[in-house]
């Protein structure tokens, strides 16, 4: 099948700055691989039902390959199954679907591992001991539980030197994040030594909060590449951030979908990683960026993308 017939839809879970790079990635992939389309289509809200509707509609519109950030690791499975049943291959992108699933594989950040690594970095910065507060996202997102567990695991490994004293969740919206994080710091700032954030908005709000109280004693590791977080790292209020690779996900994912449509198969013995949700996981790269790395974080992500892309086909796909 010719590449022009491949029409990829890149569908995030809702409007969110994280996915902005997917648009560019799709356009680049379309040009580079001569695809019929690689369009970035977003649901209007972070609602599982809205995403489902959008996906169903895109299928009726003739899209035949999907990169999907699953609105829910379990709940999105039936829609994904419907897509594949109608001949459109799906790659779970940026977040994974829980097995069993009809998605080809999951290309994204191992959320648990990223949180774990971030916490390790934080503990290192704290000098191996102290108390940690963990700020995370929607409680109903099973990833949140994975992150809570991962942070807990990293702390446990210190044999009691580090303790997670507080977990605050459901602060993915700016208003509650402001209120809860500030309230927490107001009451307990001197009882914590480190903060780990595992969602975008909490990372932004916590960076600002630390800047506001001017406290450089409390160490913090954030997530993602929001300007506020990056600037706080440069100014020394935040220790570093766990970067993910949205561009790479979109670019490589589009490429893989086209290959699959042109007859390639996913190698059954490919070196997939196993994570809590799935045993067909491909890490799109997660790196820790500290003060020295923030300025050229784009370059480092591109390097990772290039590296994964270079032998992606040979590693994961078997083509006729």
């Amino acid at each position: 099948i010719a590449a022009e017939s491949t029409k990829v839809a890149l569908v995030p879970g809702g409007p969110h700055p994280y996915f902005a790079a997917w648009e560019k990635a799709g356009q680049d992939a379309m040009k580079d691989f001569k695809l019929g389309a690689a369009d970035y289509r977003i649901p209007q809200k972070w609602e599982l039902s809205q995403q489902n509707e959008l996906l169903e509609s895109l299928l009726s519109q003739g899209y035949n390959a999907f990169l999907v950030f699953p609105g829910d690791p379990v709940g999105s499975n039936s829609t994904v199954a419907e897509l594949t049943e109608n001949g459109a291959p799906v790659i779970a992108t940026a977040g994974c679907l829980k097995e069993p699933t009809t998605a080809l594989f999951c290309l994204g950040t191992d959320t648990g591992n990223s949180a774990y690594l971030g916490t390790k970095e934080l503990i290192k910065a704290m000098g191996g001991k102290g108390r940690i507060a963990h700020f995370s996202g929607f409680l109903v997102d099973p990833n949140t539980q994975l992150r809570i567990d991962a942070v807990e695991k990293a702390a446990k490994e210190t044999n009691g030197a580090v303790k997670v004293v507080q977990v605050i969740t459901d602060i993915d919206a700016p208003e509650p994040a402001e209120e809860k994080i500030n309230a927490y710091l107001a009451a307990h700032a001197n009882e914590v030594d480190g903060i780990i954030t595992t969602a975008w908005i909490p990372a932004v709000v916590a960076s600002n909060a630390l800047r506001k109280i001017g406290d450089k004693r409390i160490q913090m590791v954030g997530i993602d590449h929001d300007e506020v977080v990056l600037k706080a790292i440069k100014d020394g209020f935040v220790h570093g951030t766990m970067l993910q690779n949205p561009y790479g996900q979109g670019y490589i994912g589009s490429f893989a979908l086209d290959k699959i449509r042109s007859g390639c198969k996913v190698k059954p013995d490919a070196p997939f990683k196993t994570i809590a949700l799935t045993n067909r996981f491909i890490d799109s790269g997660t790196v820790f960026a500290g003060k020295d790395a923030v300025d050229n974080y784009v370059a480092s992500m591109q390097a990772i993308t290039k590296e994964i892309f270079a032998n992606f086909a040979s590693t994961y796909l078997s083509c006729p």
């Binding site: 409007p15 009726s60 003739g62």
Partner: protein
């Protein structure tokens, strides 16, 4: 066309002579009433928009799209019903989503953990919905507070307890017949879920038209003081409305489970809030009064159907992805304006007829 003028009803001057003069309802005014109704307006709007969409987008009429449209519609209609039965009382049930999620998770737990057979588990889910609804109703009636604030609190409580017990874990091992039902296509166009919604709609219509209980619900919702002085047990009636709301939310939830093939805590968003919009939109567009006392089951059905059709069509139209909401809102406004124009036009005509 002559509608009866008051003079025709003039009784004879003798006190006891009750002349038998046939029904007081005239056919003409019934026709006019229907043409002026919300229901007719929505039918017209759905026809207009569906027509435009099928003309200008290739995907809209495809069997798959019609099937998914019907399926989405079915769920939204049921959610609309579960709010509608409470709006009748002049109140709101903010916890429809939370009750729905609880019922879905309860269902998942019954089939997966307890291994109950499907019908038993379904009944269990409905019973759970009814119980939570009853709790709402009793709290509202006993405290005398507005249902808005009570259900705001219970929304937190129901959902919180559910998340606390499950730690946001989903139940996946549900009977295959259930997921097959969610994917089933009758004549390749129709989802059986839609038939369920239609059936429930018919039952609700019978409730309001043909039973004292339904009439009492409307009377109590329209003017509690007057209804009470006519012997309606207001408190009990309101509690029953809320229980019914719980049951309907549970039905909607099991439909979502069938559609998703799993019972997941995030199916209605945080605290179940994602259900609020479809829940209120259908009844309000359908002519159910937010102040209570007037209901239109068919209108709710059409209202929800209209919104899902509009959304679906717009997605097909591929308006600039970030601008979709603007379009949706704009078209909704356009639709109500068209409807208003229709009503003004007909009303003027109706007056001329009189």
């Amino acid at each position: 066309m002559a509608s009866p003028t008051p003079t025709e009803l003039d009784p004879s001057s003798e006190l006891d002579a009750v002349a038998d003069r046939g029904p007081l309802l005239s056919r003409e005014s019934q026709t006019l009433r229907f043409l002026l109704s919300n229901e007719f307006g929505l039918i017209v709007l759905i026809a207009i928009f569906a027509g435009v969409f099928s003309l200008f987008t290739p995907g809209f009429t495809s069997p798959f799209n019609q099937f998914t449209l019907g399926r989405t519609m079915a769920i939204d209609i049921m959610i609309g019903f579960s709010m509608m039965v409470v709006i009748v009382t002049g109140g709101l049930n903010l916890s429809v989503g939370a009750i729905g999620v609880c019922a879905a998770i309860g269902f998942g737990w019954l089939v997966e953990t307890l291994g109950l057979p499907l019908p038993m588990a379904l009944l269990g889910a409905l019973a759970l919905g009814a119980t939570l609804g009853t709790v709402n109703g009793i709290l509202i009636v006993r405290s005398g507070l507005h249902s808005f604030i009570i259900t705001l609190a219970t929304m937190s409580i129901f959902f919180g307890v559910m998340v606390f017990l499950t730690h946001a874990e989903a139940f996946r091992i549900i009977p295959p017949e259930m997921s097959a039902f969610g994917k089933m296509r009758i004549l390749s166009y129709v989802s059986p879920l839609l038939l369920i919604s239609i059936a429930v709609g018919v039952l609700l219509t019978c409730l309001y038209r043909l039973t004292p209980l339904g009439r009492e619900m409307l009377a109590a919702g329209a003017k509690a003081a007057a209804a009470e002085l006519s012997g309606v047990r207001i408190g009990r009636t309101f509690v029953i409305c809320h229980s019914l709301s719980g049951v309907l939310a549970a039905i909607a939830a099991t439909m979502v489970v069938a559609r998703n093939g799993a019972a997941i805590p995030s199916m209605a968003g945080g605290l179940g809030q994602d259900w609020l919009l479809p829940a209120v939109l259908g009844p309000v567009l359908g002519g159910t009064l937010l102040t209570g006392g007037r209901v239109s089951v068919f209108g709710t059905f059409l209202g929800s159907a209209f919104v899902t059709t509009l959304t679906n069509g717009l997605l097909q139209f591929r308006v600039g992805e970030f601008w979709l909401q603007t379009w949706l809102g704009g078209l909704l406004l356009l639709a109500v304006l068209i409807d208003l124009a229709r009503r003004r036009y007909l009303a003027r005509g109706g007056r001329r007829m009189a």
